[in-house]
């Protein structure tokens, strides 16, 4: 059975060597892209994480509030918004933080030192927009910018990752479909022989095995090519990242092994589905 499958599968392959190589390439490209996407997503994980991090908003309080009033206000805000984390900036850091959060208020710092700087509170919230309600509070002079550039970066990185992943999935499905169509065409091309073999008692397994062998070969090649492609591309990207003083992009052996398996199993699965559907064709009634 195995010898028969290998011999007949090799015959099928030999008759369609160029097309089989084309199929291997068509399978390798999406599998390679999926591997590169995975590596890039891993590399971007810290940036993507920024989108999920709680965001901090600076709130300037009225300068004439005394310490007791300030503490009362902080306590009431903590009670009203248990999800907020409020931190009063220490007097030593105040000047720097004010410039950081409110660069347009630098005139506050231009005085002779006698000017009382307003207290600054940094509020960290899952939804920074929710802090904007404080703008109406009489104790508050100004609420700082709510959208963090880090959040924008994180969202952009996540979107890029999702786009790449979606593209990979679509390409992988297309490749599987291509493999299925290839097997279907081969079945069609050999329809007469298959019909004769069925008439003389061939089992479905005997009929299908050569097609699986003929599909496994481009699958193996696709797996190998996709691993090579991923290594080449990630090395190239790593060099660019290194030149920009960014961390290297790495791809682990498990990812490469998974890629190889996907390259092999994807066309085999598509072939098995196509062959099973073909075998379902009932006798003429």
């Amino acid at each position: 059975m195995i010898r028969h499958a290998l011999a007949e599968g090799w015959l099928l392959l030999r008759q369609r060597l160029v097309i089989s190589f084309g199929l291997a390439l068509a399978l390798a490209i999406p599998v390679c892209l999926a591997g590169v996407t995975f590596a890039v997503m891993q590399w971007l994980t810290p940036v993507v994480g920024l989108a999920d991090q709680a965001n901090t908003v600076a709130v300037l309080l009225h300068p004439h509030m005394d310490a007791e009033q300030r503490n009362d206000w902080l306590r009431s805000q903590s009670e009203s918004h248990p999800d907020w984390r409020l931190e009063t900036v220490s007097p030593e850091e105040l000047a720097d933080r004010l410039v950081h959060w409110f660069p347009y208020l630098t005139d506050l710092l231009d005085g002779d030192g006698a000017t009382m700087l307003p207290p600054l509170v940094e509020i960290t919230a899952a939804d920074p927009e929710s802090v904007s309600v404080l703008a109406k509070s009489p104790a508050v002079i100004a609420v700082g910018p709510r959208v963090s550039i880090r959040r924008v970066l994180g969202l952009a990185a996540r979107s890029l990752g999702l786009l790449l992943a979606a593209t990979s999935v679509v390409l992988l499905l297309s490749a599987a479909l291509l493999a299925g169509v290839w097997v279907h065409l081969e079945l069609y091309r050999h329809a007469d022989e298959i019909a004769i073999m069925r008439l003389v008692g061939a089992t479905e397994a005997t009929l299908q095995a050569p097609f699986l062998v003929a599909t496994a070969a481009p699958g193996l090649l696709a797996g190998a090519l996709s691993v090579l492609g991923t290594l080449t591309i990630t090395n190239g990207l790593s060099e660019i990242a290194g030149a920009l003083a960014l961390p290297e992009i790495t791809v682990g052996p498990l990812v490469l092994a998974a890629q190889f398996l996907v390259g092999l199993l994807l066309p085999l699965t598509a072939a098995m589905i196509t062959l099973a559907r073909h075998a379902m064709v009932e006798l003429e009634s």
Binding site: L199, V200, G201, T203, E204, L283, S285
Partner: protein
């Protein structure tokens, strides 16, 4: 002829079988029983239903109604898995040969023997022997397209006989053979029948019918017009 007819359980049994194509009735309420070890000729004019009857027996088609039993299997309700088992018990000599074009003469036979679980070397030996018996061993490496019609027919016969099936169905097996070869084929079929196989030959070749006494069915308009020994 008809070695041991009636002494063995039926190998073929048809009950009230109808077959129609696009409203045209080809077989009409056909009842037929062929016992194990019988030699049966099926004859009749063109369109009488000979080929259709054979196609029903090797399950290339299903009847429109009725039951078809072959080698203990109800063919009209058979599953794909059982079908391949059944077909390995039946040797079919097709009117249009049905040879694999990309395989040599020898491979066409060894290929089928491999389905039957015969080891490669044994398959090669058996295929060669049957080809030798049919005078085709010198063409073993030829592709079917390089053979004449008669040679192709002999390859189809060799393939059907190589795995020594319990039932042989032959559709016009002498259609492309000269008288000598037709006689040789008939003698081969008789030998196989004598060894216990049931043989059913569809033919309109009267000389073949006259050459040996055997049970003969004459089909006419889809029904059995005559069923008995011929020549009487």
């Amino acid at each position: 002829m008809s070695r041991g007819a009636g002494a063995h359980p039926p190998v073929i049994r048809l009950r009230h079988v109808d077959k129609e194509y696009d409203g045209r009735q080809v077989l009409r309420d056909l009842d037929l029983t062929v016992d194990g070890g019988e030699f049966v000729f099926v004859t009749g004019p063109s369109g009488a239903g000979k080929t259709t009857l054979l196609r029903l027996l090797y399950a290339a088609e299903k009847p429109s109604s009725g039951e078809v039993w072959v080698a203990g299997e109800r063919v009209d309700e058979i599953t794909r898995a059982r079908l391949s088992v059944l077909r390995r018990k039946v040797g079919v000599i097709f009117q249009d040969f049905k040879l694999l074009k990309r395989k040599t003469v020898l491979e066409n036979i060894t290929f089928v023997l491999r389905f039957h679980g015969v080891a490669p070397r044994e398959a090669h030996r058996r295929a060669y022997n049957v080809l030798k018996r049919l005078g085709l061993h010198h063409r073993q490496s030829a592709l079917p397209e390089a053979l004449s019609g008669g040679e192709q027919q002999r390859v189809a016969i060799a393939r059907a006989l190589a795995y020594q099936p319990r039932l042989i169905l032959a559709d016009e097996p002498t259609g492309n053979l000269d008288a000598d070869l037709a006689g040789e084929l008939l003698s081969l079929l008789c030998d196989i029948n004598y060894q216990g196989a049931t043989v059913l030959v569809a033919t309109h070749d009267h000389s073949l019918l006259e050459s040996i006494p055997a049970r003969t069915l004459i089909l006419h308009r889809g029904g059995v017009h005559f069923d008995g020994m011929w020549p009487p």
